[in-house]
């Protein structure tokens, strides 16, 4: 059992750190630490330029095969990159949907033409993607998709009608991948297609969703006749579910340590405030601060187990608990931040409703246990997949 990274990996770490140190300067100094969760809508233009700088340095898509411009980086190297990126205060990645979702999907299921057309733009930090999965009636129940894809014989194109929701940065993206119903006769997992659409066209309307913070990171995307070509269908007609699910398998948790680095920054700030305002002397808060520290370290070693897991990438027990673990830890951290701040937690300095970082943390973390599979869905998955307990029956409403 081996906790440390080997020498080669540590050298790779140094290389990443040096490059980021050298490049997060000048025009990019202003976007250090910006654009993260809850801040995604800030400095978008600057962050797009930053994506291109990353690309020039060869730091986009490092997990991709070299044939497509990647480095074929090992799990360890990818982990290290994410860690150092977070440590250096690298801005929120506008390219991550393309790099981590679109790319791997096309590499696994895409046609050569699709790879030729789309991978280079992602790798170069030139073309940005957003994801079209959830719908108002397809949240936890993702297979309940109503958006229709109709083949328009005359135009020789697929046309789309319906609505997607919780699409982050849709208004800043060039393309969207859409899971849509190709066969209205079929329901559930069957009769869905996986399509690649340009966003800049008629028949697509993007509306921001204002959240409890007063800011809007998510959007609704409405389709009314928007279209794509026949070759923009990934995989077979009616076989989109397999493609969409395969995509979820690609996340081997390489970004989790990077995420934890951001959590650590938040916890450190809370500790700093507690020491400054006397909260650190209150036994009840001391217990909770210790719990937060222990919980974050738990996430770390849980991730290391996960990343050291079976080489076939099969989902291990510790991988199945990760979402439930981090989201509840983070939500509790938000509450802890408020209690450590004490009466100051209520004070909003910037009018009309400009929240400070910990106030945003508190409100935003309520979403952590909802998106990407609610606590309830996660517990179902753990019970059913990890423990082999009976599945929840579907209803017929």
């Amino acid at each position: 059992m081996q906790l440390d990274f080997n020498a080669a990996d540590e050298q790779f770490r140094a290389e990443v750190a040096d490059w980021l140190q050298a490049n997060l300067q000048g025009e990019f100094a202003a976007i250090r630490g910006r654009g993260g969760p809850g801040d995604e809508h800030h400095f978008v233009a600057e962050r797009k330029v930053w994506e291109q700088r990353l690309a020039e340095g060869g730091w986009t898509c490092i997990g991709w095969p070299t044939a497509w411009g990647g480095r074929g980086a090992t799990i360890e190297q990818q982990v290290i990159f994410h860690e150092e990126y977070a440590r250096a205060g690298g801005p929120g990645r506008l390219g991550h949907i393309g790099e981590t979702l679109t790319g791997p999907t096309l590499l696994a299921f895409g046609s050569d033409a699709q790879k030729q057309r789309f991978l280079p733009g992602i790798r170069a930090g030139q073309e940005f993607w957003c994801q079209g999965y959830s719908e108002p009636s397809a949240g936890s129940d993702l297979s309940n998709i109503k958006t229709r894809a109709q083949w328009d014989e005359d135009a020789g194109k697929w046309r789309f009608y319906g609505q997607k929701v919780w699409t982050s940065l849709a208004h800043e993206s060039d393309f969207i991948f859409v899971l849509a119903r190709t066969n209205p006769e079929l329901s559930g997992h069957r009769g869905l297609g996986f399509f690649l659409l340009p966003l800049a066209q008629d028949g697509i309307e993007i509306r921001p969703i204002t959240q409890l913070t007063g800011t809007a990171e998510f959007n609704e995307v409405f389709f009314d006749g928007a279209c794509c070509d026949a070759e923009d269908l990934v995989g077979e007609v009616d076989d989109g579910w397999r493609v969409a699910m395969g995509l979820l398998g690609f996340e081997r948790g390489v970004s989790t340590l990077g995420q934890q680095m951001l959590f650590q920054v938040e916890l450190d700030e809370i500790v700093r405030i507690a020491r400054a305002n006397g909260a650190a002397r209150e036994p009840a808060l001391r217990q909770r601060i210790a719990e937060a520290h222990i919980g974050l370290r738990t996430l770390r070693y849980n991730s290391l187990r996960m990343l050291s897991g079976a080489d076939d990438g099969s989902l291990s027990r510790e991988a199945m608990i990760y979402k439930l673990a981090w989201s509840n830890w983070h939500r509790n951290l938000g509450k802890l931040a408020m209690d450590v701040l004490g009466p100051d937690a209520e004070v909003v300095e910037g009018a009309p409703y400009e929240l400070n970082r910990l106030q945003s943390l508190f409100l935003f973390t309520r979403a952590d246990t909802i998106y990407g599979g609610t606590n309830q869905i996660q517990r179902n998955l753990i019970a059913e997949r990890a423990l082999g307990m009976p599945r929840e029956p579907r209803g017929n409403q």
């Binding site: 009636s137 129940d141 009466p343 937690a345 309830q376 209803g395």
Partner: protein, 389 residues
């Protein structure tokens, strides 16, 4: 022993519920939230049609001479509707003024309050905590009276107040004084303070050498009374919390009963049902303690309960209702799923209110620490209470 509302109390509850359903809608609350958290017209209407401002005021002073139970009934309903009026400031002021010796100022203030004037108690800077050590206004003796300097935060509706009830520490005696200070006095600055919970109206007070005549000093040794008034305040806050929790539970049951996933209403999932059951358990538990605490406050006003009994009751319900409201409103967001975190749905308003109330005047764990002190450091209060309700 009839531990339930009298017919009059039930009627008060129904009237409040009906009135607020019509006049304290989500639209009204949201309109006030983007300004200063106050709907002055609504308050005028409450004053004119319902007279809630007169509930805690003696008949002799033009009030209804009703008690904390009636206040709790009304605040449970305003909490359920997040009603944007200065009622809390008004009630707390009336309870504060009732503690001071009779006199011209007392009579004038109670009469004003009975007519709906807005008065605000300014008692602490709340740095770092809510206790009396947070009193940050000093009173310097002058030939004509006193000169007040310093700041107070979280002054309820303070920027809209006609008169401020300022708690200041005398540099001479070191004791706490309660002073009546007209809002337009020279040296007084009161500004609205935006809060994370947008729906409660709070202000900051700055005093710079504010002159206070002897007649405006309502009490020159007010520390014990302040403790009593804050305990009364905790009970009113708890009433709001119970109403807030009830509303969040009701909207969760309604939403999950309509939302369909996997071909079923999500209310049919046992995980959702059991969350709702826990929400109700905590809400009803807090409500039981609330009614006890209100009765105890009533008894204290009648001289039939000790200040320690009031302290115990207030901190018990502060602990219970504070935890309940935050748990219930937080769980309500969870049960709403994605829409729960949107600005559009009301559940987030209740969550923010629950967060604000939970920390106002002290956190639940701080209240438990007070209870622990009564139990473990002083002669036990647990024993021998068998039939003393």
């Amino acid at each position: 022993m009839k531990f339930r509302f009298t017919d009059e109390q039930s009627m008060l509850q129904e009237t409040a519920s009906r009135f607020l359903e019509e006049h304290s809608s989500s639209a009204v609350v949201r309109a006030a939230a983007v300004t200063d958290g106050l709907d002055r017209a609504l308050w005028q209407r409450v004053v004119a049609e319902l007279g809630w401002q007169a509930i805690p005021i003696p008949e002799a002073d033009g009030g209804l001479d009703l008690g904390p139970v009636e206040l709790a009934i009304v605040f449970e309903q305003t909490g359920r509707r997040l009603t944007p009026t200065p009622h809390f400031a008004s009630a707390l002021s009336a309870l504060a003024v009732r503690t001071v010796p009779d006199g011209e100022a007392r009579q004038r203030l109670l009469a004003q309050l009975a007519e709906g004037a807005i008065c605000s108690l300014a008692h602490t800077d709340a740095r770092p905590h809510w206790g009396t050590e947070g009193v940050a206004i000093e009173a310097q003796a002058t030939p004509e009276g006193w000169s007040l300097s310093g700041a107070a935060r979280f002054v309820g509706a303070g920027h809209a107040a006609d008169e401020l009830l300022v708690v200041a520490r005398s540099t001479a005696s070191g004791k706490l004084m309660l002073c009546a200070v007209p809002a337009d006095s020279e040296g007084v600055t009161v500004t609205h303070q935006a809060t994370l919970d947008q729906s409660r109206s709070m202000a900051n007070l700055y005093c710079e050498g504010v002159h206070v005549g002897h007649s405006a000093v309502l009490c020159d040794d007010w520390e014990d009374s302040l403790a009593v008034v804050l305990n009364m305040g905790r009970i009113l806050v708890a009433a709001e919390q119970v109403g807030c929790a009830q509303a969040a539970l009701d909207m969760s049951v309604a939403y999950t009963g309509e939302r369909i996933q996997f071909g079923r209403t999500i209310a049919s999932f046992q995980a959702i049902k059991h969350k709702a059951a826990d929400m109700m358990l905590k809400t009803e538990s807090a409500r039981s303690l609330l009614y006890y605490a209100a009765c105890t406050a009533d008894a204290w006003l009648r001289g039939a309960a000790t200040a320690q009994a009031l302290e115990e009751a207030a901190h018990m319900v502060a602990s219970s209702a504070g935890d309940a409201a935050f748990f219930v409103a937080g769980t309500a967001i969870q049960l709403h799923g994605g829409v729960g975190i949107t600005e559009e749905y009301d559940v987030q308003l209740y969550f923010k209110r629950a967060r604000a109330l939970e920390s106002y005047l002290g956190r639940p764990d701080e209240s438990r620490a007070v209870i622990a002190g009564l139990l473990l450091d002083a002669p036990s209060v647990t024993g021998g209470q068998g039939h003393a309700a």
